[in-house]
Every structure is written in structure tokens, then in C-alpha cells.
Amino acid sequence: MSLLAVNQLVMQFGDRLIQKDVSLKVEKGCIFAVMGGSGCGKSTLLKHLVGLLPPAAGTVTYDGVDFWASDDAERSRLRSGFGMLFQSAALWSSMTVLENICLPLSRQTRLDGKQREAKAREVLEWVELGEFADFYPSSLSGGMKKRAGLARAIAAEPPLLFLDEPSAGLDPISSRRLDDLILDIRHRTGAAVVFVSHELPSLFAIADDGIFLDADSKQPIAHGCPRELARQDVHPTVHAFLHREVPPPAAAPATAKATS
């Protein structure tokens, strides 16, 4: 049974269709990329997956349990099984970095106050922010905020992580360090990672599998590992995206499946 399975999801705001027929599976330890151009619905898909926005149709299941068909208590239990890094890091501005990490620990674990603090400091050392534990988010740089947000997401060691454009807005070195950190997290904790990105170096460096959402046809047009997709004969839009080219004016619809 897949850790996360999405079946025939329809994403819609009122009458405006964003994406349809979105299906994907994420297995344990897999790093899964949600790719696509700006405005195609990548972050919206993530909101459907983490329970922030109900989909118009389709199912999202965690270990076979349908998230959106579950009651509040079951959803709360399912939520405790994943961590999320938001695009803006979304650190709680009225709390220090340490408090930002202790709060999820108080919800998702049974650790007492001292154990929570020790665990939070350990995770901060891991993301190289140990000396910034007592800083407020407003005092951190963009890269530091992302790492602090990642520390918050992984603190309770959830089996599944959602990362919304983790390397967006970072310089190449910070971006590379974050990629290495994500690989290290997978190596150490065995967590699966679903990440939204249009940063090609990150996609090629860390993704094992992925899906490409197309803004024009409003449906996925490719599934597979980005490295494999880049080598295959795929939809012209996917090819243009993965090779950083300007796409042809009228790309014919076709769905590619890469074997990773």
C-alpha cells in the first residue's frame, strides 16, 4: 500500500478549472517532484494533499485511509504523520526559532518540555542553526528561514514531508545545501518527500519520481523521474521545461511515462 496515493483529483476554484485527472503514488523513502510552470497549480495540489483545501473531486489517501472522507479526529491523526515546509517558510513570527520547533513537538510527540527543547536543539544543529535558536524569524535570512522551516517540519520525524518550493529565492550555494539536507533527511529518517519545484538543478539532483502539471491542457502531461524524462521523447512542453527552452507555440497533447 502506498504511503500517499492521489486518484483522479480535480482542482477547481469556483468555475475555474486548475487541473484534472491528477493521480500519483508516493512510496516510503521516495523523493517525489511536482513540476510545472508558474501558475499551473503545483502549490494548490500541495494544499489539497495536506488538508488546507478540499478538492472538487478525487481522493487523497494515506496508507489507504481517505483523508477527505475522514472525520476531524482521523484527519488530525493523519496530519500528525506529515510535516510541511511552506514556500515562505511560514515561521510563527511571535515565537523564537526554538519555540517554532517545540510547538509541533508538543502536538505530535509525547515528549515533556525538557525533552522537546533538547530535540529541537538537536534538529537545529542538524540544519546548522544551533546558534540561532533564540532568534526571532525576522532576524534570519531567507535561507536560514527555509532551514528553520525544514527543521520544524522534520522535528517530529514524520514519515512524509511536503516541501513547497524549498529552494526558491535562494542563492545557488544555499539551494545546493538545502538539496543535500533533504537527501540527508531521507537517508537518516527514511521519510518520503513530496516537493514542489521548478528549479531544474534541484529536480535533477534529488527527485526519484515526479509528475508534470500543464497549465494549458490543465492536466498532468508526464510522470516519472525528471532525469529520465529529460532524456526521453516527451511532450514538447515538458522537454522545453526540462531543457530550459522556449516551448513551441502549439504543443500537441500527449502523456509520457518515464521508467525510472
Binding site: 488546507l52 496530519r79 511552506f86 514556500q87 511560514a90 515561521l91 510563527w92 513570527s93 510547538l103 502536538r107
Partner: protein, 269 residues
């Protein structure tokens, strides 16, 4: 040839929905706050004590100076207007009755609520709207922490706790303001003024004022948080939420005070 079709009348359901629709969200919000308060009173609160302490300090110690100054001046203005008129009839001493009753029944609660709406209610709206824009509220939701439980409840509870205290300070300031003007314009001694005030004021007046301050506190807290949570996720949204919170709070305070006046009149209190 088919008969011409009559224009369709909107169904009763559609009419009711269009009439009640705009109220659905605020009514649901009030319901969520009440349910959350009921759960918290049973010991199941999820907000942090540090946040409650921070908000309590913000709407008490940090607000008391401006509340004292404004109410002192309102008491003085009431006394000034009363003194000019009452002196014409040789009834200057009754300025103490006028100021005492007006401050305790109406002005202290209203003016304090308006001041708190302008500083604390606006701050609630701006802070929560900014959190909304920065995805901080989403981060709470993903963690299973409802925004109402975590953000709204400590703020509304703080105002409910602190508004009656601010009201008492406001009453004292208003009476002092009236006393200063009475002493300066009518040469009434402080002791005579206070004695007259004590005779005029009853516990009913103070009880009514405290009831109003509690109601206004709940209103300002909920309105500020409601606008913050429903703000658009951009800088303009923060401004719109803040303005909306202050305007709605002030209008709500006046409307509620009018309802209080009608009820007090009907109950003869």
C-alpha cells in the same frame, strides 16, 4: 406554437440564501468561538500561556494610560457642559450627578471600547492578517491547531478579562476630570463633589457599565480576529482588514449601546 414562458420567480430557498448568505460566515465564526470557549473552559485549550500573557499585557498595562487620559478629558468635557447649564439655575452641585451617572452608565464603557477598538482590535486584525499573508495560519492548520483555538480565543478572553478593569479605571478618570472642572468653574470642593457622586451613583449603574464593557470587549476581540482571519493574502489585505475591524467595532459598539439603552429603559434600570 408553444405558449410564452413566464419569467421564473426566485425560489424561497434562493431568496433566503441571498438574504442570509452574507451573515453565514460571521455567524459560523461566532459559533466556532463559542464552541472553542466551551472546550477551553473544560480544560482543553490549545493556545500557549505565553501568547495569552502577551495579549493580556497588551490590552491592559499598555492600554491603561490612553484610556485614563481620554476618559479624564471626557469627564471634564461633560462637567464643563453641565456646569455652564446647571449654574444658570443655581444647581451647580448637580454636575456631580450628571458626570457620575453619565460616566458610569455610558461614557466610560463606550469611550474605553472605542479606544480599545482603535488600538487593540486594529492590532489583532493586522497581526492575524499578516500571519494569514505569511502562511503562518496555514502552518497552524496543517499542525491540527485551529486558528480559532490558537489565535482567537486568547485574544477574546484577554479583552473579556481586561475590559471591566479598564472600565473601572475609566470611571475613576472620568470622575476626576469632572471634579477638576467643578472645582475650577463652580468652586465645588472635592469632598462635596465626591459625596454628591456617591449619593447619585448606584450599583445598578456600575453593573450596567460592567455588563457593557464585557459585551464591547467580546465584540472588539471577535471583530478584530474575524477581519484578520478573512483578510486577503497581501499587503493591501492587511490594511483593509484593519480598517474594517475598527469601523465595524465602533459601529457595533454604538448599536449595542442603543440596544442596552432600550433594554435598560424597558427594565426600568
Amino acid at each position: 406554437m408553444p405558449p410564452p414562458s413566464l419569467p421564473q420567480r426566485p425560489s424561497l430557498d434562493a431568496l433566503l440564501r441571498s438574504a442570509v448568505g452574507p451573515l453565514e460566515r460571521p455567524v459560523r465564526f461566532i459559533g466556532e468561538v463559542l464552541l472553542s470557549a466551551a472546550a477551553a473552559s473544560g480544560g482543553r485549550w490549545s493556545f500557549r500561556r505565553e501568547d495569552l500573557g502577551r495579549v493580556l499585557a497588551d490590552c491592559s498595562a499598555r492600554a491603561v494610560t490612553i484610556v485614563l487620559v481620554v476618559n479624564l478629558l471626557v469627564g471634564a468635557i461633560l462637567a464643563f457642559v453641565g456646569a455652564v447649564q446647571l449654574a444658570k439655575f443655581g444647581a451647580g452641585i448637580f454636575v456631580a450627578d450628571l458626570v457620575g451617572i453619565a460616566v458610569a452608565r455610558e461614557m466610560a464603557a463606550i469611550i474605553t471600547a472605542v479606544v480599545i477598538a482603535g488600538r487593540t482590535g486594529a492590532a489583532f486584525a493586522a497581526e492575524i492578517a499578516t500571519m494569514q499573508a505569511n502562511e503562518e495560519v496555514d502552518a497552524l492548520e496543517v499542525l491540527g491547531l485551529g486558528a480559532v483555538d490558537f489565535l482567537v480565543l486568547p485574544r477574546v478572553a484577554s479583552l473579556l478579562l481586561m475590559m471591566p478593569l479598564l472600565y473601572i479605571f475609566a470611571c475613576l478618570a472620568g470622575l476626576v476630570g469632572g471634579m477638576l472642572v467643578a472645582a475650577a468653574m463652580l468652586d465645588i470642593s472635592a469632598i462635596a463633589y465626591l459625596q454628591r457622586t456617591a449619593e447619585a451613583l448606584t450599583w445598578t449603574h456600575l453593573g450596567l457599565g460592567i455588563g457593557k464593557s464585557l459585551t464591547f470587549g467580546a465584540l472588539v476581540g471577535m471583530v478584530g480576529c474575524y477581519y484578520g482571519l478573512n483578510a486577503k493574502r497581501n499587503a493591501a489585505g492587511v490594511g483593509v482588514a484593519t480598517t474594517g475591524a475598527v469601523v465595524t467595532s465602533i459601529v457595533g459598539i454604538i448599536v449595542l449601546d442603543a440596544i442596552f439603552a432600550l433594554c435598560a429603559n424597558a427594565l426600568d434600570i
